[in-house]
């Protein structure tokens, strides 16, 4: 008798597992990890804004931004293979929209080595490149900065205290409740082998079990916090002042991003090198 295979882990489960790995990576000391979290958050936001500002017809112009990612990955000692696996898991919505563009816009945009490229192909390539750049920049931030440091950085940049508290607690208990969900799913799989994803009524009862355990845990957490003098306000340590190297990092990256935005380096290089 063959043993029925357990259902494949859901996309949410895989993302959550990878998130735990990213936090472990962020705890490792490195030159990039030592930078102030606010500086890294600002640079990441600037990177994403510049990458997103390229129009749909600028497929190659954002490519020089890869230089920042390459340098940062090297300084942060972040394995590229880990990032590639995570990018592959991301929502395909942007890619579906890009594919629709590819299909709907077939007017020729140009030829290269005898191959005619449509406007849709250029737009799709532009979307894909910007998507990968932005996703990699965010993964870099997560892999070199602990989540609590990122929240502290946003708090220093004006995030409301209630939201900062909410983020820290949610992050803290996400992995705990994910284990709880894993136990519930394993129990279901052992009792209903080979049935795949449960039907809605059954899944509803499983979710309710998880919810009841979550509510009970919330009550225990509140009791524990009250015993430690919690009065509704989570104590968040003050942010240390920025150092000269952090400011230099922000300024240097800002200038580089501005230069990439202002000058279409790949096109200029291509013209200079072509006969």
């Amino acid at each position: 008798m063959s043993v029925p295979r357990p259902p494949a882990p859901s996309r949410s489960f895989r993302l959550l597992s990878h998130a735990g790995d990213l936090d472990d990576l962020a705890a490792r000391p490195s030159a990039f990890q030592a930078l102030d979290a606010r500086a890294k958050v600002l640079v990441t936001l600037g990177f994403v804004a510049v990458a997103a500002s390229f129009g749909r017809n600028a497929a190659l112009a954002p490519l020089p931004l890869l230089a920042y990612l390459a340098a940062a990955f090297a300084l942060g000692e972040v394995p590229l293979a880990a990032v590639a696996a995570r990018v592959a898991l991301l929502s395909p919505f942007a890619l579906l929209v890009g594919v629709a563009d590819l299909v709907l816009h077939r007017a020729p945009a140009g030829t290269l080595w005898g191959v005619t490229f449509s406007e849709g192909a250029v737009s799709f390539a532009s979307l894909l490149i910007r998507f990968v750049l932005c996703a990699c920049a965010v993964f870099l931030l997560a892999a070199t900065t602990r989540f609590s440091e990122v929240v502290h950085a946003f708090r220093g940049l004006g995030m409301p205290r209630a939201l900062a508290t909410q983020l820290l607690l949610s992050h803290r208990y996400a992995f705990v409740l994910a284990e709880e969900a894993g136990r519930i799913l394993r129990a279901h799989a052992l009792r209903a082998p080979g049935t795949g994803a449960p039907a809605l009524p059954v899944a509803g009862r499983l979710v309710v079990q998880l919810l009841l355990r979550s509510l009970a845990r919330a009550e225990r957490v509140h009791a524990a916090m009250s015993c430690r003098g919690f009065d509704g306000d989570l104590t968040i340590r003050p942010t240390p002042p920025a150092r000269v190297r952090d400011l230099a990092f922000v300024v240097a990256c800002g200038l580089f991003f501005a230069a990439v935005r202002a000058v279409d380096v790949p096109t200029a290089l291509g013209r200079a090198l072509s006969p």
């Binding site: 949410s12 998130a19 942007a94 890009g98 949610s170 996400a174 039907a199 919810l211 009841l212």
Partner: protein, 327 residues
Amino acid sequence: MHMSDALISPGVGAAAWAAMAGGVGWASRRLTRGNDPRRVPLMGVMGAFVFAAQMVNFSIPGTGSSGHLGGGLLLAILLGPDAALLVMTSVLVVQALLFADGGLLALGCNVVNLGMMTSWLAYPLVFRPLAGDRPGPLRLGLASVAAALVGLQLGSLGVVLETTLSRQVSLPLPSFLGLMQSIHLAIGLVEGLATAAVVQALWKARPDLADATFEPARTSLLRAALVVAAAAALFAGGLSQLASQSPDGLEWALEHSIGTAEPQAPAHAAHALAASAQAATAKLPDYGGGSPLAGLLGAGVTLVFALLVGLGIRALRRRTPDGAPAP
């Protein structure tokens, strides 16, 4: 429905961030004023619960695929609209930062589409009026499905508008709209049924939670008005740029029957009086040539007029001592 940074222009992203900052700041202040220490760990754990609950996939009959609970409507039912918005925002921030699921620049758009539309519009304006106090299973199911449908339709409409205004892709608006709205109709139906199933089972296990869930709703007129005003400004100021230049149905019929879309008015005193009154009051004749300013002004005047009508009716109802409607 998570939008990525590649679909958003910096301008649209910044505007959505501003809307997110304003909305989240307001919700945070209201929750802080409530000063209930139990709420803090409960909201934190509920945010973690949403992550964990999304791991539980259920099969969707007839499609061969599976789905999972989104959680926005469930949070609003269990925690109230302000707390739900804060929890959904934390979920989206964690998803953006740790999973890159939904971009950083697009975070504001995702909070507006997935958080505000459900917590501040669908829940108070659809779910609460339909569910009433302590609904039975059928009423709860209908209210959940209706609220989930409305919330997700508004959210997907937000996605379409933000993507179109950003001009990062050149999808035809009608096709994009048709595809997104129809897909999210199905998703909304499933989300509503799943939410109703969870809430119903929860109340059976914990009847005390049912009492806590249905505290009298404190619907904020100002909050609802601000959301509607922001939506009206987006439509009038932004979407008007995409308006069709083709004649409308009446103009088309007139052109094909009498050869002109604007027939001459007969020489009569009443017509002349009406025309002179219109010339005196029309500050933007022909909608100012279709400018966004005309759209915004028109939306603003309409909104003020509608508010005055609502406030007037409220004032009339309050005049009678026993609360009965005025004759």
